[in-house]
Amino acid sequence: MLRLETVSRSFDGFRLHADLAVARGARLAVLGPSGGGKTTLLNMIAGFLRPDSGKVWIDGQDVTDWPVPDRPLSLLFQEGNLFPHLSAFDNVALGVVPSLRLHEADRAAVAQALQQVGLSGLADRTPGDLSGGQRSRVALARMLLRDKPLALLDEPFAALDPGLRREMLALVGELCAAQGLTLVMVSHELRDAERLCTDLCLLEDGAVTLNGALAPMLEAPPPALTPWL
């Protein structure tokens, strides 16, 4: 589904090099210390950064030179996913068409996405009148509605308290499974990865130091993983 073919990118004396593949429907956690290259990796997949060399494949297509909006993916940031002056409904509807010119069917789809994340009654509220968890749900609803095969999550829900975070991760898991999404999540918590992901990749100093299925790694942790346990 996603393949990073010997991509590399350097700036300011830092160099990221990665060769990775994520199968359709898999959920990869990218773990690593700050400054290890996690966000750079994500930015290259999303198209915010071009690799100096190598290729990025998504869904069987070479998207290396594609602009951001054309890539078949959705992004969820740590925060700032919503426009503060727009209602929850409009924020979700932006996923259909940015001009917010909606047909009847679109409106129904937005309402349904909000219902899927459990926010049916709150469509008219602006982000300021929603709790942190509810805001995350609005962003998730938009991701669902966009229905792109690849979802990129950049330390999602980091601003939420642990209980709420668990709840949101579970919800993401359900929704991904239901829609058959492939997922890449950047995190610095192994625990978050355990809850949601099938695969794990450890990124340190710009290099992949560990990569594979998550379950066996947790059963017999390789040395590289011990600091994260």
């Binding site: 993916l73 992004l75 700032g80 002056h85």
Partner: protein
Amino acid sequence: MGAAVAVLVLLAVLGPLSAVLWRAEGVTALGPPDLSAIRFTIWQAILSALFSVALAVPVARALARRRFAGRATLIELMGAPFILPVIVAVLGLLAIFGRRGVLNAGLGAVGLPGIEIYGLHGVVLAHVFFNLPLAVRLLLQGWLAIPAERFRLAATLGFTSRDIARHMEWPMLRTVAPGAFLVIFLICTTSFAVALILGGGPRATTVELAIYQAFRYEFDLGRAALLGLVQVAICIVAGAMVLWVRVPGGMGTGLDRPVERYDGQGRLTRFVDGTAIALAALFLLLPILAVLLKGAAGLWALPGTVWQAALRSILLSLATAGVAVTLSLPMAMLIAKGRVKGLLETIGALTIAVSPLVIGTGLFLMLRPYMAPQSSALPVTGLVNALAALPFLLRALVPAIEEAEAGYGRLAESLGMSGWQRMRHVLLPRIRRALGFSAGLAAAMSMGDLGVITLFAAPQQGTLPLEMFRLMGSFRTHDAQAAAVLLLALSLGLFWIFDRGGRVNAAT
């Protein structure tokens, strides 16, 4: 110390104001010319603010989303009008838009009728020249305050420039633009020098200009005083509106935070942005360039009186800078402590509300029994200029002091440093840059000032701007242009020296 200075400043503003009030008592009504001056003041300020902000929108948008060589310099230059002498800029505008200016020559060459710069549109043009850069900086700040993630989000959602304008830029402008409009409106209501040169006559006289005329030509002190009160009322209303909408500061640095943009790569938007930036740069730079080109050659042929005036101006500016820093530093230290912050800031901002010309008139009324007005011209001008610079200096100094205190206050405390020691070893070294900037700003503002000095300078006692104004009045255009080059060099030079001085070996 700070409190004493605050009281002093309060007295220096309110004293002359009450002198004006006292004097205005006998007058009962405003005549038709006064009413038309009030109308003109408000109308030209509305137009000036409207045009400045409207034209700033495409320029700020272009600067926010383009990266090009010279961008940082251009943004930096947009902060320069504060230290640019008004009369130099007006002379430059005359060279471009005036009767025998470049534009009219071009229009004449293709057989079109020429334009006339004197009157309402000339005043508005000059005000836009001075305030467009401020508006651009204020709006650009708004643009750069849009979180970077939001632009990334917009990119993933496939926003077009239009969608970005609707969902991100328009909401931002709705909060930022009214403040920018009101600040510029306020600045333009107190405009004196521009109106003095480009306005005048029954249809283009501002209240400030009317005060000057009442004072200088008719020596009708009662009327000058009454107009002074009108001016104070206008400023207070405008100032209250500014406070009410909470205007962001446009003078600070840190305006160049890079925000990655993924939109606006189309050929048309590139063209539109390029045109906006180029036109703005031309509009702002051409007049200054014209002055330099026309004036530089005549510099060595300038009459001795101009050089004497220049010397007088330099001394006056240095004195003003000294007084302004001496007044603002203790006040800023007190404000930074957080005690009675609001009250002190209000006192510091008073000089914006009570225009320098009104304070000058009041001081004249107060001093008249004791000394000849002409011998008090320079000290009064220096004091008024220092008071006028005060709000700007407080704005620069307070954050620097707060930062120094937040970073090292506890350390100094734990080492038992206090009083003068603490000031000498901790505070002053930490705020050197802000101090240098403040002194430079005060000196440059005073250097270019053509305000109070016009009220009572004797013929042989003018400052350089006044001398230049006299040259213009007697149609000695070449000498005036040469004097403009000198004035420009002195203003920028003084600012540069102080500002540099603050940076050399500055603590980081």
